[in-house]
């Protein structure tokens, strides 16, 4: 541990003293001493790569890495059959493993990954789970309708659905003016950005939960979707009774088209995992789960980005813009997401990513 660090600290001054190969009494030690120099060079390169100091690597080192790795790997194979030197075997085991992680390490950095992710990777992942999106959409619509119908039948349901934080003035029997008041345009943007930050971290937490719960065959994700949409249905009914349907829809759609879409995707991604574990097809359950999990993770990164947009929309345009503006923004955002997810990046599908 210590020696390589010191060596790299003092630059390339490290040249191991030529080992006295002939002095070794054992054949396996001679084998080791002959190759030791290559191993140490490989270790030096690997340590520098692990520390992320790629600039310190010369071109020769980079070119030599695969060859050195194969040398070390074949040394390990030979040593396992000919040497009983436990220290050398342990060292080679660890060296080959570390070198393997670097040789087969991430090929591009975070920025390059983000570029390919936004430039088609996300859209492809979302198109791949279209069936789950359809199911989640149906469930959400059903949840809204159920919320509406239940509250329409019996007002007591409203209190069962809607959490206390929303049911301040917005309760059944409230007058039209009070309800209109709750949809008002704010006078200025003070306090709004903190509100946006809070909304974002709260919603992102919920959608991560919806995704994670999909692991239990998707059922809890669906329940979460139904519950949330039932709240929406109940409130929709409330405003409809007061004749404010359009105003409420405008108020909601500014950020709602983005946020509900994000929640839809999170639920669908969770369900995708649950569904592929319940019905893995010809694959093993483990490989089906990991394949869908990686796809779902891409969708979830997209969901978090969408929620950032939704929080910004919710905090500023929703509180500051009038009804027509709200409707326009909501529709434009919805069209944008649909175009981006389902029309963008189609051509790249043919080329191997």
């Amino acid at each position: 541990m210590k020696a390589p660090i010191l060596r790299t600290l003092f630059g390339k001054a490290e040249v191991a003293p030529p080992p006295d190969i002939e002095a070794a009494a054992l054949r396996s030690d001679r084998f080791r001493l002959e190759r030791e120099h290559d191993w140490r060079r490989l270790e030096d390169i690997v340590v520098r790569m692990e520390k992320g100091r790629l600039r310190g690597l010369s071109d020769e080192d980079v070119l030599a890495l695969p060859a050195l790795y194969r040398t070390a790997a074949s040394s390990l194979a030979v040593a396992r059959e000919t040497s009983l030197d436990a220290a050398t075997l342990d060292y080679l085991d660890s060296l080959v493993q570390r070198a393997w992680f670097q040789v087969y390490g991430p090929r591009h950095g975070f920025v390059a990954w983000l570029r390919q992710f936004l430039g088609g990777g996300l859209s492809r992942a979302i198109r791949a789970i279209w069936l789950d999106i359809c199911i989640a959409l149906a469930v959400m619509v059903a949840g809204t309708v159920a919320g509406w119908l239940l509250v329409a039948q019996d007002k007591e349901w409203y209190y069962a659905f809607v959490p206390v934080q929303f049911a301040d003035t917005r309760v059944p029997g409230a007058s039209r003016e009070v309800l209109l008041e709750s949809l008002q345009v704010e006078k200025d943007a003070q306090g709004m950005s903190a509100f946006a930050a809070f909304l974002f971290s709260n919603n992102a937490g919920v959608s991560i939960l919806a995704f994670a719960l999909g692991f239990a065959f998707g059922i809890p994700s669906l329940m979460l979707l139904i519950h949330n949409m039932a709240i929406l249905g109940a409130m929709l009914w409330l405003y409809h009774e007061a004749g404010l349907t359009l105003e409420f829809a405008a108020w909601l759609s500014v950020h709602g088209t983005t946020e509900l879409f994000a929640i839809l995707l999170a639920g669908a991604a969770g369900m995708h995992i649950g569904r592929s574990m319940a019905f893995p097809g010809n694959r093993s359950i483990l490989s089906a789960a990991s394949e869908s999990g990686r796809r779902g993770a891409q969708v979830m990164v997209g969901v978090v980005l969408m929620l950032v947009a939704a929080a910004l929309l919710e905090a500023f345009p929703r509180q500051l813009v009038g009804m027509e503006g709200r409707l326009t923004i909501g529709a434009v955002m919805l069209l944008f997401w649909l175009a981006y997810f389902f029309a963008f990046g189609r051509k790249r599908k043919a080329t191997p990513a």
Binding site: A25, L84, D85, A87, A197, I208, L286
Partner: protein, 305 residues
């Protein structure tokens, strides 16, 4: 192979998996122990918690300074608001980003995992992709924090039967690693990853180039140790590697007792004062013999075989 040759490593052999790399080399991985992973997690949580508290305190201190500088809460709401945003986003990023960013790095491990000598790797022998790291970390909430919340609440009976059922259900996630061979947690399962040991061994000196193993005779007394066929036949690979450890550690009392044990076993009269040279010579000759047999495909795991 190692499992036959070294019985002292048998308990590790159960956790050993050979992954065949794309160029056809069987690379041995050791699945990390559950205790090592739990320790790494605790360490990470402590790091996250301490960082979070320190940043929170710093922000509170800055906000307090703002109050003093401006003189009243009325003027600087914009600055305070900015601090609140910073704080909210910081907690979100710390909570969700710490594991992801650290595991996406070239070492595939958080600080806690590095300290425990383990790392995340792809189960199929391919490379560890960013998607896999994201997937395995998104499940942390339901595996760790929700179960703990529910388990703490269930005994109070507030949630009724549903609370107890939820606690039992979440306990499944919490205890997931205990019910499979590779100690995968739910996140590992859906990401196609596992956590393996990442040993960082340094190359020790070759033993046969020094001392009596090289010269064949003791530098101290000049005595030359030669062991016969029957004397070398009593020990196997396990004893050889134990002797190697004793020689590398070089503790005098261990050298003495091992020296005495070997002399008793092969029927020599143990002398005093020249233990190291004796053991070096014995080690070199025993290893030469066992390795020569090995080249003909004959292996002797230990003294009983």
């Amino acid at each position: 192979m190692t499992s036959q040759a070294a019985p002292h490593l048998a308990h590790r052999a159960r956790r050993r998996r050979d992954v065949v790399t794309p160029e056809g080399i069987a690379l041995p991985f050791t699945v990390a122990g559950r205790s090592a992973r739990a320790g790494a997690l605790l360490l990470d949580l402590v790091i996250m918690f301490v960082t979070g508290v320190l940043v929170t305190l710093a922000l509170i201190w800055i906000a307090g300074g703002l109050f003093d500088a401006v003189g009243g809460p009325g003027q600087m709401s914009g600055a305070v608001e900015f601090i609140v945003i910073l704080w909210t986003l910081f907690w979100f990023l710390l909570w969700n980003g710490y594991f992801m960013v650290m595991e996406m790095g070239p070492r595939g491990a958080t600080f806690g995992k590095r300290a425990a000598g383990i790392r995340v790797a792809s189960r199929d022998g391919g490379r560890l992709t960013p998607e896999a790291v994201v997937a395995r970390n998104l499940l942390r909430d339901i595996e760790l924090f929700l179960p703990i919340v529910f388990l703490l609440n269930a005994p109070s009976g507030d949630g009724g039967l549903a609370g107890i059922a939820a606690a039992a259900w979440f306990a499944v996630f919490l205890l997931f690693p205990f019910f499979n061979r590779d100690s995968l947690r739910a996140g590992d399962l859906i990401a196609g990853t596992w956590v393996v040991e990442a040993p960082r061994a340094t190359l020790a000196e070759a033993l046969s180039t020094e001392g009596a193993a090289r010269a064949g005779s003791s530098a101290l007394t000049g005595a030359e140790y030669r062991f016969g066929e029957a004397e070398l036949a009593v020990y196997g690979e396990y004893e050889l590697q134990t002797l190697e450890r004793v020689l590398r550690d070089g503790r005098p009392e261990a050298l003495e007792s091992v020296h005495e044990a070997i002399c008793r076993k092969i029927g020599w009269n143990p002398g005093k004062g020249d233990e190291r040279a004796f053991l070096e010579a014995f080690y070199a000759q025993l290893r030469a013999r066992l390795e020569a047999d090995m080249r003909f495909g004959k292996r002797k795991a230990d003294k009983f075989s």
